[in-house]
């Protein structure tokens, strides 16, 4: 594995071996000194051309737990505002001594393009509405640690599938690992074409509540004009919000997940967000472990199998 860009590039075996490695890193993060010297002397650079706090912080935490140095590039304060091209920027970051780039960009395919321009490994930290592969890994790890498996579980992904890179990555990862995926969304928030996706589609959350093991709520992207694709927030909450009433209708062992940041009172009710069966903070913690696994896989030498 040279880059980590798209879940579709990976076989089930690759996903499972990354999850196994991440399990080991969870143990390291629980130690009194949660740090190992594995990547001493390496520099991990986060180049986020689109605002993000938690993903960037999570990558930095992961890099530091492996003793790598970190640099971070933020477009607002950089030469991008002077018109430097993406290509010049990434080549500059490489020339400065980066050993790995984590790239987030609003353009679909940006990370893949960046990988063509550099000789160092590239990790996709999110490209447009296309892929967010480390999110998929951390969600899969959260599910696998909770249930002891992913195979055979039924996962509902609820909300704005059309604009969601999280949905696209997670559909691929969950189904590759043997879960059954149902998309729950109004037609306006579904992709125009879902032919060939390994999913079922349901227009009603209420219909699937009693059957699913995992309810994966997507964020209503207020800043991306959420209100233009469905009539009103109250209507969204009424049909797709994880309210207390709906939460009570889930199977007793079912869990609720959300990639964050949550809009409390919109896609998830306050009380549900704080319930122990909502694993949002566990997802955040697993995010550090899977990013350690990805960084270590790309920078720590070849795996002998």
């Amino acid at each position: 594995m040279r880059h980590f860009i798209d879940i579709a590039d990976l076989e089930r075996h690759d996903l499972e071996s990354l999850l196994d490695e991440a399990d080991g890193f969870v143990e390291i993060l629980e130690r009194p000194i949660p740090k190992v010297p594995a990547l001493r002397g390496k520099t991990v650079t986060t180049a986020f051309f689109e605002p993000s706090t938690r993903t960037r912080l999570s990558f930095e935490r992961a890099a530091k737990a492996l003793s790598a140095d970190t640099m971070s590039f933020a477009p607002g304060t950089s030469s991008l505002s002077k018109g430097e091209s993406l290509k010049d920027t990434v080549q500059t970051l490489e020339a400065m001594g980066s050993n790995l780039l984590v790239v987030r960009h609003r353009a679909v395919g940006a990370a893949r393009r960046v990988a063509d321009w550099t000789s160092i490994p590239v990790v996709n930290g999110g490209d447009g509405a296309h892929q967010h592969p480390t999110q998929a890994l951390l969600d899969a790890l959260t599910i696998r640690r909770h249930f002891g498996k992913v195979e055979g579980l039924h996962v509902a992904i609820v909300g704005d599938i059309r604009h969601s890179r999280v949905a696209r990555s997670n559909i691929l990862a969950f189904s590759a690992l043997g879960a059954r995926v149902t998309l729950v969304a109004p037609r306006t928030l579904l992709p125009v074409v879902t032919d060939g996706w390994p999913v079922a589609v349901s227009p009603s959350l209420d219909e699937v509540l009693g059957e699913v093991d995992v309810v994966y709520l997507l964020r209503v992207q207020m800043e991306r004009g959420g209100a233009t694709v469905f009539p009103s927030l109250p209507e969204y909450v009424g049909r797709f919000g994880m309210t207390r009433r709906r939460f009570a209708l889930l199977k007793p062992e079912a869990i609720v997940m959300h990639p964050g940041p949550m809009n409390r009172g919109v896609e998830i009710a306050d009380e549900v967000a704080d319930d122990p069966r909502t694993l949002v903070l566990e997802q955040v913690a697993m995010g550090v472990a899977v990013r350690m696994a990805v960084l270590f896989r790309l920078l720590g030498g070849e795996l002998d199998e």
Partner: protein, 174 residues
């Protein structure tokens, strides 16, 4: 391939090392055995059983030191195993257990790993085979067999828990 220890030799060596550990530490108070992945782990468990037979139970754990190696870039990486330490190692005597002691780099990595897990009173080292060629100032406290080798040879220990049989052998480099 040349056999250097059979199952009976290994059992006798482990029994003797068990006795030496207890004798030197005057009992088992404060002892912890930590096996180094991969084959040090079953060896540490067997040592703990030996010691339990004639003295008393000793806690036993396992260390994977791959993330502490200084030669990650230079050798094929193996899958990372678990690190499990059943008790606090603070102020205890840790006995590291490995199958083959060679350059000392694995032990160096294990010492760094232990320093991150706590502050033992003392750390001792037990190796089933010491084949020489140290690259660091590290020496074992307990040795099953001293084996003169050339640097190019490979010394392998097989244990029944992993390999299905107990034996040690030397291979000429290919």
């Amino acid at each position: 391939m040349r056999a250097v220890m059979d199952a009976a030799d290994m059992a006798r060596a482990l029994r003797r090392i068990g006795h030496e550990i207890v004798e030197r530490n005057r009992g088992v108070d404060d002892l912890v055995l930590l096996g180094i992945h991969t084959r040090g782990v079953p060896l540490a468990q067997r040592l703990a059983r030996e010691i339990a037979d004639f003295e008393a139970a000793v806690p036993v754990g396992e260390l994977d030191v791959a993330l502490y190696r200084d030669d990650l870039d230079r050798r094929p990486k193996t899958r990372i195993g678990a690190t499990r330490v059943p008790v606090s190692i603070d102020d205890r005597v840790v006995v590291l257990v490995d199958d083959v002691l060679f350059t000392g780099r694995t032990v160096r990595a294990a010492l760094d790993s232990i320093a991150d897990l706590g502050r033992p009173r003392r750390v001792e080292l037990a190796a089933l085979i010491d084949r020489g060629h140290r690259e660091l100032p590290i020496r074992p406290d307990y040795v099953g067999k001293n084996l003169p080798t050339s640097r190019r040879q490979r010394v392998m220990v097989h244990v029944s828990e992993i390999d299905g049989n107990d034996r040690a052998f030397v291979e000429e480099a290919v």
